[in-house]
């Protein structure tokens, strides 16, 4: 790699690659916001165990203010920062190009500005509307403006990556995009298409309404636009983890990517069908016909296929690596994997979690089963083993090489890093059992049940003691996991000493297959074309629904009920 040919001064980590610094700032800022959000989690877990300690939290006006912080910071803010960091840096390095640094820093500060505005609204208890902010609950305008700026800056980062890649294509006619860059760019194209819903909702409807310029909004239209983005946003969280699983895990396991063409196919499929599926969050909504719900349900299931491909390919790559090291037997090869490596182990645990999360997701997405679980505690049970583990634990695993790579500082206490990954995994598994179970017993999500009068709480608790206890315990396990993980991060960053020359490289894997000669791969490299096709599919699956709502609106005024 290029770093080796320079002899940078040992304490100047960013001389050869100033883009390392922006990647570091994005990822670490994201982690700091996550810390604040995650500290709310155990309080919520205790609530679902029937234990109320909010009265001892003077800085929170209500359970719902804390829950707004938790959802917004974890799901929206942390993910966006971290992804902007890695999906700007990694494709740039793969293409051997440098982003325009002035622009990159501009996007970073714009994002900070947006988050500060939203934070002012939430911390003042003026936007306890939860991270879904369904109108007509009406938050402070700064909340919506901040959210819009957060999304806008992520789109600018995506635009910068696509711009770099387009330049690379021009400079390298006839060449196929390297696989890691390909996956990253496809993810950005997907996000640009996916974000349209929330952008239109917030910019055209909610901001003018919150500012008092328009008197009323249509709650169904707003919900539909929200979920237009709200489902594919989960692929925006998931695909960067897939990038790591496909492109880095083989190398980290000591092998190669066994099926690069399929990795590309999976990402192309995500670009094509990720977006027109949001109605599966609205199966129980009035005002939308079952025909459209079923069409989008079918598309939702179609998006499960590339995930199943990923499971196969990633497992095959690990098996290949283990057999190279002499691993034998049907499952015996697994022993040859580098389980003492925190980065590897964290990510494999994230994958295991995603097997359960994916299976649960298929239940949620099927219109008949959804009636059983919609808006119950089952749902947070589901997404803590998807975004809360598959994505988050993968990102934790990535930081174990990324932070040393970016800063030249050694990973602080790798054994603690390994332990934190196991604790997180076990904590989330227990959490998932507790919450899924509570959901099946009809306990609603987003409910401050621990503060209910005893006879009302007992209506929930009478047959739910075991799952409620599990949820409470999991919150404590996760608190320990978080403390361990953040000790590793802080310990790593706060060291004075750098050893830039011996810092770990980006673990780009080699590929077992030569793709240059493959027609299918060459075709899939036309990401602009796939993007256009995806756009047409979205128009077909959403156009008529949205048109129906816009032409027959149901307007209601806003309200503050917290």
């Amino acid at each position: 790699m290029t770093t080796k040919t320079f002899t940078p001064s040992q304490d100047k980590a960013y001389d050869t690659h100033p883009e390392k610094k922006i990647a570091l700032y994005y990822t670490v800022t994201g982690l700091i916001f996550l810390l604040v959000g995650v500290l709310m989690g155990p309080l919520q877990a205790l609530n679902y165990a029937g234990i109320d300690i909010y009265k001892y939290m003077p800085f929170l006006k209500s359970y719902y203010q804390g829950l707004t912080l938790h959802g917004v910071l974890n799901a929206l803010v942390f993910t966006t920062y971290f992804i902007c960091g890695i999906l700007l840096y990694i494709p740039a390095r793969d293409l051997k190009l440098r982003p325009n640094m002035t622009f990159a820093w501009f996007t970073y500060w714009l994002m900070n500005f947006g988050v500060v505005l939203a934070a002012i609204a939430i911390l003042g208890n003026n936007a306890s509307v939860l991270y879904t902010f369904y109108p007509p609950l009406k938050g402070h305008p700064l909340f919506y403006i901040g959210a819009a700026l957060l999304v806008a800056s992520s789109l600018l980062v995506g635009g910068q990556v696509i711009y770099m890649w387009t330049g690379w294509k021009k400079a390298n006619p006839g060449k196929i995009t390297p696989v890691t860059a390909y996956m990253s760019v496809a993810t950005w194209f997907m996000w640009i298409l996916a974000s349209l819903g929330i952008v239109v909702e917030v910019v055209f409807y909610l901001i003018p309404w919150a500012l008092g310029w328009t008197p009323a909004v249509d709650p169904l239209l707003a919900r539909t636009l929200f979920w237009y983005t709200g489902h594919p946003i989960v692929y925006f969280w998931l695909l960067p983890a897939y990038v790591s699983w496909y492109a880095f895990i083989p190398k980290q396991a000591g092998g190669k990517i066994v099926s690069e063409p399929l990795a590309r196919l999976a990402f192309a499929m995500f670009l094509l069908v990720s977006v027109p599926v949001g109605l599966h969050h609205q199966f129980t909504d009035p005002g939308i016909s079952n025909t459209w719900k079923l069409i989008q349900m079918s598309l939702t299931f179609a998006v499960a296929v590339p995930s199943m491909l990923t499971a196969f390919s990633v497992a095959a790559s690990m098996e290949y690596a283990a057999r190279l090291k002499g691993g034998k037997g049907l499952t015996g090869w697994m022993g040859k994997l580098p389980w003492n490596e925190p980065s590897f182990t964290a990510q494999v645990l994230a994958m295991v979690s995603f097997i359960f999360g994916g299976a649960g997701g298929i239940a949620n997405a099927s219109m008949s089963l959804n009636y059983v679980v919609h808006n119950t505690a089952w749902i947070p049970g589901h997404f803590h083993i998807t975004v809360g583990t598959a994505t988050t634990l993968t990102f934790f695993g990535m930081t174990f090489w990324l932070l040393p790579h970016l800063t030249g500082k050694k990973l602080f206490n790798p054994r603690l890093a390994l332990a934190s990954s196991w604790w997180w995994f076990v904590g989330m598994m227990v959490f998932a059992v507790g919450m899924h179970w509570e959901g099946l017993l009809g306990i609603p999500r987003r409910a401050h049940i621990a503060a209910l009068p005893k006879e009302l709480l007992d209506q929930y608790a009478q047959n739910a003691q075991i799952p409620m206890a599990l949820t409470g315990i999991s919150g404590m396990i996760l608190l320990v996991a978080a403390i361990m993980y953040y000790t590793v991060v802080a310990g790593t960053l706060m060291q004075g000493k750098r050893d830039v020359q011996n810092a770990p490289e980006i673990p780009f894997s080699e590929s077992l297959t030569n793709v240059e000669t493959r027609k299918s791969v060459r075709f899939l490299d036309n990401l602009w074309l796939l993007f256009a096709v995806a756009f047409v599919i979205v128009l077909g699956a959403y156009g008529p629904i949205l048109w129906g709502m816009i032409s027959d609106p149901n307007l209601v005024p806003g309200m503050r009920l917290w």
């Binding site: 719902y64 939860l130 879904t132 369904y134 007509p136 609950l137 709650p219 919900r223 066994v258 099926s259 399929l262 199966f283 129980t284 909504d285 009035p286 005002g287 939308i288 016909s289 079952n290 079923l294 349900m297 079918s298 299931f301 499960a304 296929v305 199943m308 491909l309 196969f312 095959a316 098996e319 290949y320 057999r323 298929i362 099927s366 219109m367 008949s368 089963l369 009636y371 059983v372 919609h374 808006n375 119950t376 009809g442 609603p444 999500r445 987003r446 409910a447 401050h448 049940i449 503060a451 209910l452 009302l456 209506q459 077992l512 297959t513 149901n554 209601v556 309200m559 009920l561 917290w562």
Partner: protein, 165 residues
């Protein structure tokens, strides 16, 4: 294991996965079309799709509760409002199809009836319609499962299913 072998297995897996998914889709569509679930629909026969919240007096929601229509079928009109259901307690006969019409007067709410598959997102002004037959008499908890404000968790009521006379 060389990569040709792996690719063969991989293709096989792709077909198996796609087939599994296709079966799931077909079964679910079958369930919905045959009304095996009490789905929230915008059915063609559903004339009361929206109501004007400033003029509820002109709609059956003016007097929420259980009614029998001209052909003797049971219709239950319910309002969700911060932070209660109206009527707060309601009695319905077992073994008879009950058609529930529900809307909200203020913000989003949910309406879930325990031990059933009745689960509705309640939007202000939009009328959701669901038909359900209670087989077993007893008391069923009705809860709001969509965040609606500080009183959200307290928004619970009862549905009492009585032996049909």
């Amino acid at each position: 294991m060389d990569h040709h072998m792996i690719e063969k297995y991989e293709k096989l897996w792709l077909y198996v996965a796609s087939a599994l998914i296709a079966i799931l889709v077909l079964v679910t569509i079958g369930n919905v079309v045959n009304s095996a679930i009490p789905s929230v629909g915008n059915h063609h026969d559903h004339s009361l799709k929206k109501v004007d919240l400033t003029n509820l007096a002109a709609t059956p929601f003016a007097t929420p509760g259980l009614k029998q229509n001209a052909s003797g079928e049971y219709e239950l009109y319910m309002l969700s409002q911060a932070f209660m259901f109206n009527p707060p307690e309601v009695k319905v006969p077992a073994g008879k199809p009950i058609t529930l019409y529900v809307t909200s007067t203020d913000v989003l709410h949910g309406l879930q009836i325990e031990k059933t598959n009745v689960n509705i997102e309640v939007l202000p002004g939009e009328v959701a319609k669901v038909t359900y037959t209670f087989k077993k008499p007893g008391t069923y908890r009705v809860g709001c499962n969509e965040y609606c404000g500080v009183g959200h968790a307290n928004m619970m009521s009862k549905l009492i299913v009585e032996e049909a006379k």
